[in-house]
């Protein structure tokens, strides 16, 4: 109790203190607190950072040249020498999977960034220019009615296989989603009283967009970008798997699986390892996205 408590006069009724009905909650601050409050973000981010490290540090992770052929050591099972075994050309699957992370992550991140930028530009125009809105949105609807994989396959058929072309094709297939989202957010933000107040305060159109609209679209856009990143990695793997994606000279999880496909029943490990890595990476990105959505969505955040 308080040391310097004033004496309570005899005729004053004091309420007895009531105990708490819940155990005290330790308020955690700093990194530990963040992990405690947002376990999905923490786990997703940790897994993604691990994958990124693999991609960056691939040459130093005990790998050999992923394209080096050694016909004498074909289709070896996983062992101390070949951790994930070797494929039908005797290439080290472990090295190929490690290097393959580079393609997946490059494609994932590039598409996420490019699709966000393109979607943001189109969405802003659509949300602000009334007459263009109808036309743009019908085009976007048309593009979204084609499954992204089919659209990407069709686009790849027009060019030659390269990572850049894969990124371009998937970006075109994915950005209408962002455009649609940004347009919706812009239309609702335009109705916000603070935007009206800014108009009354003499702020010009471009500044309204830059200062009041754009910063408030970033949160939902970031969440959408993570989902697009995950989707792009899967589409890239599929394209490579059916031979319409990354050229065979560059190892990617998709084309490693494609090459192991013929031997799936006898040497399942060739397909198994890249598949596991792809799944883990997509899981990481999706967890991150879910976590961010919960953190940035005020309705979810208000949840007790």
């Amino acid at each position: 109790m308080l040391g310097s408590a004033v004496p309570v006069p005899a005729d004053v009724a004091v309420e007895p203190a009531m105990p708490d009905v819940l155990p005290p909650i330790k308020v955690r601050r700093g990194l530990a607190g963040f992990v405690y409050r947002h376990p999905t973000i923490a786990f997703g981010a940790a897994l993604l950072i691990a994958m990124l490290s693999i991609a960056v540090l691939a040459p130093y992770l005990g790998t050999v040249d992923p394209t080096a052929l050694s016909p004498a050591k074909r289709t070896r099972a996983p062992s101390a020498e070949f951790w994930f075994g070797t494929d039908m050309f005797g290439r080290d699957v472990y090295s190929r999977v490690m290097y393959g992370a580079r393609v997946s992550l490059t494609v994932g991140f590039s598409v996420a960034i490019l699709a966000s930028l393109a979607g943001l530009a189109v969405g802003l125009i659509s949300g602000f220019v009334r007459w263009a809105d109808g036309i743009i949105m019908r085009i976007m609807d048309g593009m979204m009615s084609i499954p992204p994989i089919l659209l990407a396959v069709a686009l790849m058929a027009l060019t030659r296989a390269s990572v850049t072309n894969v990124v371009t094709a998937i970006t075109i297939a994915e950005f209408p989603r962002v455009a649609r989202l940004v347009r919706g957010v812009v239309l609702s933000l335009r109705e916000q009283p603070y935007v009206d107040a800014a108009v009354a305060a003499g702020t010009r159109g471009p500044m309204i967009i830059l200062r009041h609209i754009l910063p408030n679209t970033l949160a939902p856009m970031t969440v959408q970008a993570t989902y697009i990143c995950a989707s792009a990695m899967i589409v890239e793997a599929i394209l490579s798997f059916i031979g319409a994606g990354t050229p065979p000279s560059v190892p990617s999880w998709g084309n490693i699986m494609a090459e192991g496909r013929a031997l799936w029943q006898v040497k399942p490990f060739i397909v198994f390892f890249p598949a596991v890595f792809l799944s883990l990476t997509v899981l990481a990105v999706n967890l991150l996205g879910d976590g961010l959505r919960d953190m940035l969505d005020p309705r979810m955040a208000k949840r007790l």
Partner: protein, 335 residues
């Protein structure tokens, strides 16, 4: 003769709402349908009415947040409803706004300092960084917020404090007229009193004119000089405050005043309970718009729309009953 600060003449704002699967169908919402009033310098005019009567739309028309359908809005003798966005800018400074919702009226991603600096920069009211900072400090002082509020974010403040920030932003442009759109309606009782007092003091000290849009008659009585009562897009009665609260002339005003619960247990009062609901502004009743709910409606009310005109006691009122001789007039009998 000096012109009033704001003169609104026969203001109309109709919205077109699309409907149907292809957006082919549609209907016109007669949100504001011929509203006229003036506001003098340093005067507060209250616009009262129930939801959907068009009072907020009037405020937005004056702020030129959208174009009006017809009519005139004159600021200081100059028509501003026809000005282009560029030509309007000098006039924008002179009319500012405080909104109802203290949460959505501040950009969550701007610090208080930047929120207050925005109008100062836009209208070039400060010549240097130091002067800008000094002005922001002064504004915070005027609305009785601590100086360190400048570097904080809106979400760190309570509803009442946010409303103070909103008021400071309106004052930053050094306006002549402030439109208060339900500025205290969303606040708790004790905080509401703080903000009402603040607005009242500011008006006295700075000689501001105010358009005080509200549905709360008790607050309106506290805040204003004159009161305009709106019903379905029209002003039905306009009178100096005391005249209106002492002897309302229009049957709607009478019902509205009698419907407000008074914090006095056992107070003996004649309450006029109106039948039914407010009709839709998409298809307003012909004749007097109030006739569907008016306890005194007679034949003429259903056919002919009454004009707003002077009646006894400095009132403007739009009701056919005023034409009836006193002996037949239920209003006179009730009074």
């Amino acid at each position: 003769m000096k012109s009033p600060l704001l003169e609104v003449t026969d203001l109309k704002k109709h919205f077109f709402v699309h409907s149907g699967a292809l957006g082919t169908g549609g209907a016109t919402v007669y949100a504001v349908d011929g509203v006229s009033f003036t506001i003098d310098r340093a005067e507060t005019l209250a616009l009262v009415g129930e939801s959907g009567c068009g009072k907020s739309t009037v405020g937005r028309c004056i702020l030129r947040l959208f174009d009006i359908t017809s009519g005139q809005v004159m600021l200081d003798g100059k028509r501003i409803d026809e000005l282009s966005a560029g030509a309007l800018r000098p006039f924008r400074r002179r009319v500012q706004v405080v909104f109802q919702d203290p949460f959505s009226s501040l950009n969550p991603r701007m610090r208080v300092r930047d929120i207050l600096a925005e109008p100062i920069r836009n209208f070039r009211l400060a010549t240097s960084r130091a002067e800008l900072a000094a002005r922001v400090d002064r504004l915070l002082e005027v609305v009785r917020l601590p100086r360190d509020a400048a570097k904080r974010w809106p979400h760190e403040f309570s509803g009442g404090q946010r409303q103070r920030i909103g008021i400071a932003r309106a004052l930053a442009a050094e306006p002549d007229l402030i439109v208060c759109d339900e500025a205290v309606s969303a606040l708790d009782v004790s905080v509401k009193a703080q903000i009402v007092n603040l607005l009242y003091d500011l008006q006295q000290e700075l000689g501001l004119a105010m358009l005080f849009i509200s549905h709360d008659l008790a607050i309106v009585e506290h805040m204003t000089h004159r009161v305009a009562v709106m019903y379905l897009g029209k002003i039905v009665e306009l009178a100096p405050k005391r005249a209106l609260f002492a002897a309302p002339k229009h049957p709607y005003t009478q019902a509205l005043l009698s419907a407000v619960p008074v914090p006095e247990p056992g107070a003996a009062r004649q309450r006029i309970i109106l039948k039914g609901d407010v009709p839709s502004p998409i298809n307003p009743p012909k004749g007097c718009r109030f006739h569907t709910r008016c306890p005194y409606a007679f034949e003429r009310c259903r056919a002919e729309e009454p004009a707003l005109r002077a009646t006894a006691g400095g009132h403007l009122s739009a009701c056919h009953l005023h034409d009836l001789p006193a002996a037949q007039n239920p209003l006179a009998a009730a009074a």
